[in-house]
């Protein structure tokens, strides 16, 4: 197996059983992501974008096929093993921000650092919040922040552990277009400066256009990959 890719999916499939019988969500997807890539997974609602993201991030297990992170096969690990892998290598940005409502902005950003056992978590978290322009709002709780601000906190949290891979699920889906545009700017700017590999799920064409590679999904099948 070639070692040039950071992440690879081989014959990846996901089926779930429903009352009406088994339902195929993803069917035989093959994919390689190289270090420094920015990949947009695009497709209509229900095409399996988020499922693919979940499988790549090890949040879920495939029904068939394998996911590799460098030379580690994610499917061979148990849930805790995948969690440890996430802790060191992956960051996440979600459509619904997913900040812990009971923690301040600073504490939210500190969270992954603390989970990774980083001693200088508060200082690093403060640093990251300043970089996303939220220096004056460290002690605010998510409830007291606007949607755009909450997503900035989420971005700071995602980059704080300096992940090799950053997964973003519809990062602008809950934002108005002007705010969404600013968030995209921030995301790509940090992605470049941190040399992060970005995997992004979206149906926002302008966002997809900023990515170096595109994967089109239709009813769980990969219909086209474009550079």
């Amino acid at each position: 197996m070639s070692k040039t890719f950071l992440m690879a999916a081989r014959h990846l499939g996901k089926t779930v059983s429903t009352q009406a019988g088994s339902l195929t969500i993803l069917d035989n997807v093959d994919l390689e992501i190289n270090r420094g890539d920015s990949l947009a997974i695009v497709g209509a609602s229900g095409s399996g974008k988020s499922t693919l993201l979940g499988l790549l991030a090890g949040l879920d297990v495939p029904s068939s096929g394998e996911v590799w992170l460098e030379d580690v096969c994610l499917s061979a690990l148990d849930e805790d093993g995948r969690a440890r892998l996430r802790a060191g290598h992956m960051g996440f940005v979600f459509q619904s921000f997913q900040l812990l409502p009971s923690l301040t902005a600073l504490e939210n950003v500190m969270l992954p650092l603390e989970l990774a056992g980083v001693a200088s978590a508060p200082a690093q978290a403060r640093d990251w919040l300043e970089r996303v322009g939220l220096g004056p709002r460290l002690e605010h709780r998510p409830q007291q922040l606007s949607g755009g601000e909450q997503q900035r906190v989420a971005i700071a949290r995602a980059f704080a552990i300096r992940p090799a891979l950053l997964f973003a699920d519809e990062p602008t889906g809950n934002l108005d277009s002007a705010t969404g545009a600013r968030i995209i700017e921030l995301l790509f700017e940090l992605n470049q400066s941190q040399h992060t590999t970005l995997v992004l799920v979206t149906h926002d064409a302008s966002l997809a256009a900023r990515c170096s590679r595109h994967l089109y999904l239709d009813a769980g099948r990969c219909v086209e990959t474009a550079a």
Partner: protein, 832 residues
């Protein structure tokens, strides 16, 4: 992930949850469980200590050896070697001779070091105020009770003869420890120095004398001496320690203590339910956090550590706060019972605090652990798909653990596995039937919903929609209101009914110690005065020593070995006819055959407890002789008739050979007290006891004990409120959403508010109705089965419980949902 940051994170999350009001319900419920435990066990411990202390003061020692012979020297030496202090008292009956006449007195001769515990109390004039005596009487001096002064017309300084010796009467004796507590020895008491005994020449070979050896020292020394002595005791000896010598009031307090224990258990169980509900909500509201943490790389163990640490912090703080509150509450409880308690109880040790904290933690573990542990199973994919939830905890695990916790706590109070299961089974059966009744009430209101106004309809619909939890709350509040109604009924109605149902001329005076030759004269005196009395029964004192040749201590079950009937002399009487209010339960009454056969009729409840049946041979020790009699009948007895009643009745012709006295009871109309004075003057040996005074005492005890139980019921009420708040919290989001929607749709604040208040008012009303029905039933059981009283409908309960319940729950509920209306609907809808 290393330990310290994880704990710091746990702390931070908990602090934030606290600020967001997520954990208060849990904390409140835990605090109640801990507070109840600390209050009740603290009170029990203090009571226990106070009773022990009081008993040693009554005994005059830590341990008393009573015997018909002086204690052997080697026993006394052993006690000295064990480091105990010793004293001795010699007691006998003798005639006291004064210028004005004779009087049978109970003489106690003591050493200068008497008593070892407690004090002798004296007064300067008959019936005057008492004070502790600084020392014992000087040799040659005598102290006597007021009654002797009255009977013989004596004054301080007069001379009195006991046997061959002449004494100066120097003080009036109020009280001295280690009295033989039985009523038959109520001749006036006289205290003198043992140095004077030889002078009196009263004690001769064959005289009936009771020797007491008193011992006091450290508990360990007393205990080791007691275990050394016990195997050496003969049938002449009896050893009395603090426990055996505990006064009757101790039994009442023991019972009160057990009721308090069980009441507190109800509070703990309800608190447990509140904890479980709060924990469930806590768990539900932390799914997202757990999923996010898993997504960010936390392993299952991290999640467990994080939440168990939070629970532990929460449990410890809740329990500590609760234990502290419980500590204050037991001080209140002691103050409440102050008059009833023998003396100011010594402060409690640290054990009740520890028990309170432990109960809080055990309750938390038993009721909150399963839902909280479920958090580790939240799938990380939930960050992408909000509908994913962990599998629910297995029902048997949740309920099993809770049930086990309750059984363990219950066992602590009953200290008896069988009783625990019986109580638990009974509680479960009552709970099921009460829940059923609660559901039935809900059904009834549902039928009514078309006939009531909009607010009430809204309330009925809300209750019905959350049917299971509404029935649960009706049950919980119903239980509290019921317990409160019953104690209130007992305190006010029961005693009053008992008194009014006694015949107006029920005896109110007991006359005991009537000398055999005065028996006819005494009856004639009462008749002359136009006083109706019960028959004058002859009384011979005897101890039941064997059943079918088996010594009685071995013949009865272990639980019955402490039965009072075995540990003291019984009043034995004879009668040719069955006493008026006795009823034969088995066998036949004595037949007049002309020749006296040694037969006996036994009170049926005592027979049952001691395992005595028809045809059994009972052996009695009477005045140093043994009498064997065959049981030919069992009788039921009305103990509360205020007539003399007897465990053992013999046919005429059997007991007459033994020395004895007689007793009766009679009714003395108010205003005729002067008859008593004449009676005492004519029959100085007779002791008259005023039942009215005793009854007043009983009433006081009863009132204070029920007051104490009600006090503990306050904890049960708080626990029910904790359940209410937990339920409110569980439906809080839904209610706020609903309220906001209604207001967005144009409902006025008043409309939303009255709908909600109606719901709670209805809840309280139904709980009150359930409580009224339940207490009516239990009161009926108590009146007709336990107390043999006529029952009448307790209508005030049907007013007080529903109205009180409605007000209380409506207020609490309105307070719990105030947020629904105090914030703008748009904000609330957005938050949700």
């Amino acid at each position: 992930m290393i330990g310290t940051p994880r704990l710091a994170l746990a702390w931070r999350l908990l602090r934030r949850d606290w600020r967001a009001g997520e954990v208060q319900a849990l904390l409140f419920a835990l605090a109640i469980a801990a507070a109840t435990t600390t209050a009740v066990s603290g009170f029990s411990e203090r009571l226990e200590r106070a009773l022990d202390q009081q008993t040693t003061e009554l005994l005059g020692a830590d341990l008393v050896l009573e015997s018909s012979r002086p204690a052997p020297d080697d026993w006394l030496q052993q006690a000295r070697d064990a480091g105990l202090r010793l004293s001795a008292a010699t007691e006998f009956a003798s005639m006291a001779v004064a210028e004005a006449g004779l009087q049978l007195v109970a003489v106690k001769a003591v050493g200068g070091d008497y008593p070892l515990r407690g004090t002798v109390r004296i007064a300067s004039e008959p019936f005057g105020p008492e004070r502790p005596a600084a020392a014992m009487p000087e040799p040659g001096a005598l102290w006597a009770e007021s009654r002797l002064f009255a009977a013989l017309g004596l004054q301080r300084g007069d001379r009195l003869r006991i046997g061959d010796a002449d004494f100066a009467l120097t003080e009036v004796l109020g009280f001295e420890p280690s009295r033989g507590g039985n009523l038959m020895n109520l001749s006036p008491r006289v205290l003198m120095r043992s140095e004077d005994l030889p002078r009196t020449q009263v004690i001769q070979p064959g005289s009936r004398v009771q020797y007491r050896a008193l011992f006091a020292g450290s508990p360990a020394a007393v205990e080791s001496f007691q275990s050394w002595l016990e195997p050496r005791l003969t049938e002449h000896d009896r050893l009395v320690n603090a426990r055996a010598g505990r006064p009757a009031i101790g039994n009442a307090l023991d019972k009160a203590e057990r009721y308090l224990g069980l009441a507190s258990l109800v509070a703990i169980a309800l608190a447990g339910v509140a904890v479980a509900m709060a924990a469930r909500r806590y768990s539900l509201r932390h799914y997202d956090v757990s999923a996010m943490l898993r997504c960010l790389g936390a392993v299952q163990r991290d999640i467990v550590t994080l939440y168990v640490a939070q629970m532990l912090l929460l449990g410890l703080s809740g329990s500590l706060v609760g234990a502290a509150l419980g500590w204050i509450a037991q001080i209140g409880l002691v103050a409440l019972l102050g008059e009833l308690l023998p003396l100011t109880p010594p402060p409690a040790g640290p054990l009740p605090l520890l028990l309170g904290v432990a109960t809080g933690l055990v309750t938390l573990t038993g009721f909150a652990l399963p839902p909280v542990l479920r958090l580790r199973q939240v799938p990380p994919l939930r960050v992408l798909r909000r509908d994913l939830a962990p599998l629910p905890a297995r029902a048997w695990l949740v309920y099993g653990l809770a049930l086990l916790t309750l059984l363990a706590l219950m066992w602590r109070y009953t200290a008896d596995p069988r009783l625990t299961l019986i109580v638990a089974g009974g509680a479960a059966a009552s709970a099921v039937s009460m829940l059923g009744a609660a559901f039935a009430l809900l059904l009834v209101t549902r039928r009514l919903r078309r006939r009531v106004g909009a607010a009430w309809r809204f309330g009925i619909n809300s209750l019905w929609r959350r049917g299971a939890s509404s029935a649960g709350q009706i049950f919980a509040f119903g239980l509290v209101f019921m317990a409160m109604s019953i104690t209130a009924l007992l305190r006010t109605d029961l005693l009053a009914s008992w008194e009014t149902q006694l015949p107006p001329d029920a005896p109110n005076q007991f006359a005991i110690n009537i000398l055999p030759h005065e028996r006819d004269g005494f009856a004639a005196f009462l008749e002359d005065q136009g006083i109706h009395s019960a028959p004058v029964y002859p009384v011979v004192r005897g101890r039941l020593s064997a059943i079918n040749e088996v010594p009685v201590r071995r013949a009865v079950t272990k639980e019955e070995q402490d039965n009072n009937a075995l540990n003291r002399e019984l009043n034995l009487t004879w009668s040719a006819v069955l006493p008026e209010d006795n009823r034969l339960v088995a066998g036949r009454w004595f037949q007049e055959t002309g020749e006296a056969r040694p037969e006996v009729s036994v009170e049926s409840k005592l027979a049952e407890r001691l395992g005595i049946g028809l045809g059994d041979r009972l052996e009695f020790q009477i005045a140093g002789e043994t009498l064997t009699a065959r049981v030919i009948s069992l009788r039921s007895v009305e103990w509360d008739s205020f007539r003399p009643n007897f465990y053992m009745i013999f046919p005429p012709g059997v007991l007459e050979v033994y020395p004895g006295s007689a007793m009766t009871s009679f009714y003395l109309a108010p205003g005729r007290e002067v008859v008593l004075q004449r009676l005492i003057a004519q029959f100085p040996a007779v002791t008259v006891l005023d039942v009215g005074v005793l009854l007043g005492e009983v009433r006081r005890i009863f009132e204070q004990v029920t007051l104490a139980v009600e006090y503990i019921l306050m904890f049960v009420l708080f626990a029910s409120l904790a359940v209410l708040f937990a339920v409110l919290a569980a439906s809080h989001d839904e209610r706020i959403q609903e309220g906001a929607l209604l207001r967005a749709l144009g409902a006025s604040r008043r409309q939303v508010r009255s709908g909600q208040v109606a719901e709670f008012a209805l809840l309280g009303l139904l709980a009150g109705v359930l409580a009224a029905a339940g207490s009516e039933f239990i009161a009926w059981l108590l009146y007709t089965q336990a107390f043999n009283l006529e029952y009448s409908w307790k209508w005030p309960v049907w007013l007080a419980a529903p109205l009180g319940g409605m007000t209380l729950v409506a207020l609490a509920g309105a307070w719990g949902t105030r947020k629904v209306l105090s914030r703008p609907p748009a904000l609330l809808l957005r938050e949700a």
